[in-house]
Symmetry: C3
Subunit: 346 residues, 3 copies
Amino acid sequence: MADPRFFDSKGPFDLHKVIALTEASLAPGQSASQDDLYQKIYDLEALSQAGNGHLTFFENPKYLDEFKSCRATACFVHPNVLEKIEDFQGLPLLLVHKKPRRAYAVVANAFYPDKEIEAGVSDRAMIDHSAKIGKGVSIASGAVIEENVEIGDHTAIDANAVIKQGVKIGARCRIGAGCVISHALIGDDVSMLRNVSVGQRGFGFDPSPEGHLNVPQLGRVLIGNDVEIGAGTTIDRGAGPDTIIGDGCRIDNLVQVGHNAQLDKGCVLVSQVGISGSTKVGKFVTFAGQSGSAGHLTVGDGVTVAAKSGVTNDVSAGQTVAGFPAVPVNIWRKQVVALKRLVKKS
Amino acid sequence: MADPRFFDSKGPFDLHKVIALTEASLAPGQSASQDDLYQKIYDLEALSQAGNGHLTFFENPKYLDEFKSCRATACFVHPNVLEKIEDFQGLPLLLVHKKPRRAYAVVANAFYPDKEIEAGVSDRAMIDHSAKIGKGVSIASGAVIEENVEIGDHTAIDANAVIKQGVKIGARCRIGAGCVISHALIGDDVSMLRNVSVGQRGFGFDPSPEGHLNVPQLGRVLIGNDVEIGAGTTIDRGAGPDTIIGDGCRIDNLVQVGHNAQLDKGCVLVSQVGISGSTKVGKFVTFAGQSGSAGHLTVGDGVTVAAKSGVTNDVSAGQTVAGFPAVPVNIWRKQVVALKRLVKKS
Amino acid sequence: MADPRFFDSKGPFDLHKVIALTEASLAPGQSASQDDLYQKIYDLEALSQAGNGHLTFFENPKYLDEFKSCRATACFVHPNVLEKIEDFQGLPLLLVHKKPRRAYAVVANAFYPDKEIEAGVSDRAMIDHSAKIGKGVSIASGAVIEENVEIGDHTAIDANAVIKQGVKIGARCRIGAGCVISHALIGDDVSMLRNVSVGQRGFGFDPSPEGHLNVPQLGRVLIGNDVEIGAGTTIDRGAGPDTIIGDGCRIDNLVQVGHNAQLDKGCVLVSQVGISGSTKVGKFVTFAGQSGSAGHLTVGDGVTVAAKSGVTNDVSAGQTVAGFPAVPVNIWRKQVVALKRLVKKS
C-alpha cells in the first residue's frame, strides 16, 4: 500500500467502477456475481504482492507463475491469456483488456491523482507587480517571479523556483522546486521536476586562440502541451531559431537538449541523454539511457536509439539503431558477435 | 528577429558602423555608394531567412545555394567567395572578412549586448555583515552571501544563489540563479549559468568493508578570467592541491570536473563530459559531448577528444582521439570500417 | 597548508598523539627518542611537498623516489617498505601501518573534522508548524521545511534546500544548499552535497500514439546510514516498491538512480553513472565513471563495472566487467587488442 505519509488514496472503489473506468470486460468462462462486482478494491499492487482487496495486472509472460498463484481480488489480463486457462478456480477475477498495463495505470491515476494544488501565493515569494497570475495558482515560499511573467490558471510554482522576465507558462503546469526558467514560452499541462534549467544561453561561441567570443543566443525555448521534464535536466535556448519541445514529450533526469534542437510530438528521452544543437528529432522517437546525437542531423519518426549509442548520421523513420557510430541494431548485434568470435580465435 | 519579449536590441546601426566595427572591406568588383553605406541594419538573421534590412553571413560552402538567393542587405563573406562570383547583381552588399562567422558574432554582440545589470541588493537577499560587496553589484531575491565573501565590482548574483563563506568572486561576473559556490577563488568576467555547483568536497574516501572513510578535501577551486560554466555543471574542490579552471575556458551543461583536475587556458568541455580527478588538460583542448577522461593523466595542448570517447592514457599535443579506449581518430575510423567488413564476411 | 580562508585546523598535534590515534608502530631499525615523539605535527601534506612539521604517507610504489627524498617530520609506510631500507638517515620518522593511506585519512579527519554546525534556525527559513525539529539542528536562510517533516538531532539543512511533506531525516545529516527532497525516509549520518534531487516521480508512463499516460509512482526513497550523495545527483522514488540506497553507499555527482533500483551496502557510484529502474545492486559494488546498467538486472556483490561500460545482463558476484555490452574485463581487453590487430592487417 502506498505510504499514507506521502500519498492520499481516493479509494476504495467498487470493482464495477474500476471496470467502467477502463472499459474492461469479464472473462466469458469465469462466472461473476453481482456481489463480485461490488467488492471493494482498496489498493493497487504488483502481481507478486497483491492480495485480498487488491487490483493488479499481468502482461509480461515472464511472470506466468506469479499470475497462476496470484491472490488479488481482480487482475487485468490480455485476451490471449484466456486461451491458456483451463480452470479459473483460485484466480483473481479477470478483467480482460487489450492493454492490461495501461488499464492498471488508468485506475492508479483514479486512486492516486496528482495532488490538487492549494491555490495561494506565499508571502515569502517574490512577485513582480507586472506579472500576470492566473486563477487558482499556487506560488510557494522563495519562488521568484520576474517582470512580465504570465502564469496560467491552476499552475503551481514550487519553492525557490525562479521564473525570469517575460516567461509565459500555461495552465495546470507544475514547476518543481529549484527550477530556473528564462526565455521560454510554455504550454498547458507541463510538468518540470526539480532543479530543471530552461532557457539559458546555448553553447555558442566563435573559438580562437585570442579568446573565444560568445555568440549572443537570440532564440527561445518553446514547449508544447503535456510535456514532462525530469530533475536536473537542461534545455538551452536557440541561437536565433528556437529550441522546440513538442506536445506530449517525456524527458527524464539529467538530459541535455542543445540550442536549436527540435523534438516533435511524443518523444521520449531517457536519463542522461544528450541531443546536440540543431538536430531535428521526429515524432515518437525514443533515445534510451545515456545515448546521444551529434548536431545538425535529422532523426525520423518512430526511431529508437539504443542505450549508450551515438547517432552520427541522419536516421530514417522507423529504424532501431545502436552503437557508436550508431548503425541498424541487427548490424550492431552482428558486430558484437563478430568481435566475440575474433577473440575466441586469438 | 529576436523576440522583444526577451531581448532588447541596441539597433538599428548604419552599415558603415558595422563595417568599422568588424574591419570588414568591400568587394572590389561590387560598387557601393555612400547611400549604400548609410543603409540601416535593423537585425541579424540566418542566411536563408535574411531579408531587407538584415545582416547575415556565409561561411559553410554547404549553403552556397542559400547564399546565391540571399536577400539580405549585407552579408559577411570570406575573400575566397569573390573568385566564384561573376555577377554581383541581386546579391547583398558583400562585407569581406577572413572570419565571416566571427564578424557576425561581433555585430551580434553590439546589437544584443549582455543585459546591463541593475545595481542593487534585494531586501530579500541574505548578506552577512562581514561580506565585502563591490560597486555596482546586483544581488537578487533569495541569494545568500555568507561571512567574509568578497564580490567584485559590477558582478550580478541571481536569485537563490548561495555563496558560502570566504568565497571570492571577481568583477563583472554573472552567477546564475540556484548556483551554489564554496571553497572557491574566482576571477573576473566569469559567467555561471543556472544551478551550477562549485567547491563541494571531491569524491575522496578510503574504501573498506568496515565502512568507507571520507578523506577531508582540503583544496579549493581556482577559476581564472573570462570563463563560462554551463547549467547543472559540478566542479569539485581539490583534495589538497586545487582544482583549476584556466582563463578563457568554456564549459557546457552537466559537466563533471573532479578533484585536483586542472584545465589550462581556453579549454572547451561540451555537455555531459567528465574529467576525472588529478588529470591535467593542456591549452585549448576540446572534449566533445559525453566524452571523458580517466584520472591522473596528461592531455596535451590542442588535443581534440571526439564525442563519447574515453581517454585512458596520456595524449600528446595536437592529436585528435576517438573511441574507448581512445586512440588516434584515423585508427578509430579504420576500426569502425574493419568491424563493418567483419560482419559482411560472416 | 589548507587555506585558512576555508579550513579551520585543529592542529598542531604531538606526534605521539598521531601514533596513538592510528595505532601505528615505530620502525624497529629506526631509533626514536622521547623528544622525537613530542615533535609537533602542524599539517598534512602530499609526499612530494611535505617538509618540516608535516605528516605524510607513502603507499604507491610509483613514488619511491619521492619517498627517498622526503623531508617530512613523519611518514606512514607499509611494513613491506622496511625491508628495502638500508639506512634510515635523512628519512622521516616512519610510522608503520598496514594501510598508510587510511591512517593518513584518520589523522586528516582529526586535523580537519567536518565543521561543527551552528545550531539555530534562520528567521528566513520557512518551517511548517507541524514539522518536528530535533536538538541542535541548523536550518539556513531560504530553506523550506513542509508539513510533518521530521529532522533528527544535530542535522544541518543548508540554504534554499526544500524538504517536502512527510520526509524523515535522521541525526547528524548534512543536506546541502539547493537540495530538494520528497517521499523519502533517510537514516543517520547522511550527507547530500548541493542541488541533489531525491524522491521525484520515477520515469514511468504507458507509451501510446494517443499520448503517453503517466503511471503514478507510489513508492519512496529509503536511504540508510552513513551515505554520501554528490552534487546534482537525482534519485527517483519507486513505482510501488521503493528505491533503496543501503548503508555506507558513496554516490558521486550527476548520478541517476532510477525508480525501484536497490543498492546494497557500501556501493560506490562514480560521477555520471546511471542505474536503470528495478536493478538490484549487491554489496560493495563499484560503477566507475559514466558507466550504467540496464533495468531489471541483478549485479552481484563485489562487482566492479569499468568506466563507460554498459551492463546489459546479470553479473555474478566478484566479477569485473567492461565495455558495452559489458563482458568480463579480460575478454574486453582481448577484444580491444583483436580490433587493433584487425586494423593492422587491413
